[in-house]
Symmetry: C2
Subunit: 202 residues, 2 copies
DNA sequence: CCTACCGATCGGTAGG
DNA sequence: CCTACCGATCGGTAGG
């Protein structure tokens, strides 16, 4: 693996864990196994590295968007879309942490990111819900756009603080505790149940 | 207002906005209108100030917990509990941001805070749901503890990134845009609708 | 509650 | 990709 890729990987991990401000270039350099000035040979500044990390994340997100838009046109669309989102963050929970930190640390930049990468498919999905409301297959009380945002809150919440809050789940079952850092399947199962039942008529 | 209180107020605001690591004692001192060493006269260290800010937040939370536990015993309990939580964070959205940052920046400390301040009433509420499931007034498919955690994800999400993501809500109505920094009522209304319908039978 | 100051660490640069 | 180094800022202290 080339050094540039290794730098992006370690920077992603550390930015997600401690935030951009909370991560020193020295820490990233140590994790990669190079000296600090070498980072600034590959990326002109910390801000440029930060931007590259976000670009990397968003390009991976854009890989699955076509699949999402395809799923919207099918019958079981919303289960499929939700499954795809959950799979995206399961593959690397750092993605959720990174997006959440960006939203609270730099709301202005995040608004720009959302307008570019979220508005399109959110609009398509909201229209799809409204059509289904018109022909009676989905609850008429659903506020389509607000509903989608609240589902996103659950998804992001599950993958950012899920590993922390799940100590509150009683593990009464005898089949061992979940692996450290992983998400309890009860959280994702309940998320899907809530999302489905709040949307579909009967 | 005495200086100590002013320091706690400004520290709360800045910690919520930029994180503890992202806030210099100098910034807090400037906001209060004193010199930096004066902060360290009132609080022995930045860490001690951070701890005091969290204590302040949790003591305000504990003020409403009795009201919450009382509401659980009533008929309209869950609407009332949710309204109380929404009111708590509406009074100061910094509370949500502070809690969320603590959860992602210091998961270990957050787990301790949750065990002390959340486990008790979460247990009471979960038992209340299970009893209602037994007598058929609530859906048997609800995973009580996981359900409560997902509702918390929506509440915290609404108050931390709601002001940012709500640019995605179409403001088709003619009654002006919402005030800057405030939460669009569509988000809280949909949150309450989703929470209610996912829980109650029929 | 202040002035004056400390060592450590920050992001970044010069030069090879 | 390295050594050597920069000014700025960090949390915190001495002394009044």
């Amino acid at each position: 693996m080339d050094v540039r890729t290794k730098i992006l990987e370690e920077a992603t991990r550390l930015f997600a864990a401690h935030g951009v401000d909370g991560t020193a270039l020295q820490e990233i350099a140590d994790a990669v196994g190079v000296k600090k000035p070498s980072l600034l040979y590959h990326f002109p500044s910390k801000e440029a590295l930060h931007a590259s990390v976000l670009e990397d994340l968003l390009s991976r997100w854009n890989e699955i968007v076509p699949r999402l838009l395809h799923a919207v046109a099918r019958e079981d669309r919303f289960d499929a879309v939700l499954d795809a989102c959950i799979a995206f963050f399961t593959a690397d929970p750092d993605r959720a942490r990174l997006l959440l930190r960006e939203a609270i640390d730099r709301p202005g930049e995040m608004r720009a990111l959302l307008s570019t990468h979220v508005t399109p498919w959110l609009g398509v999905m909201a229209e799809s819900i409204k059509k289904a409301q018109a022909d009676g297959s989905m609850r008429k009380t659903v506020d389509a756009e607000a509903y989608i945002l609240q589902i996103i809150h659950m998804v992001i919440g599950t993958f950012t603080v899920g590993a922390t809050v799940q100590v509150l789940l009683g593990h009464s079952g005898s089949n061992g505790r979940p692996k450290r850092g992983s998400i309890d399947p009860r959280l994702t199962a309940e998320l899907k149940r809530v999302a489905r039942i709040a949307l579909k008529q009967e």
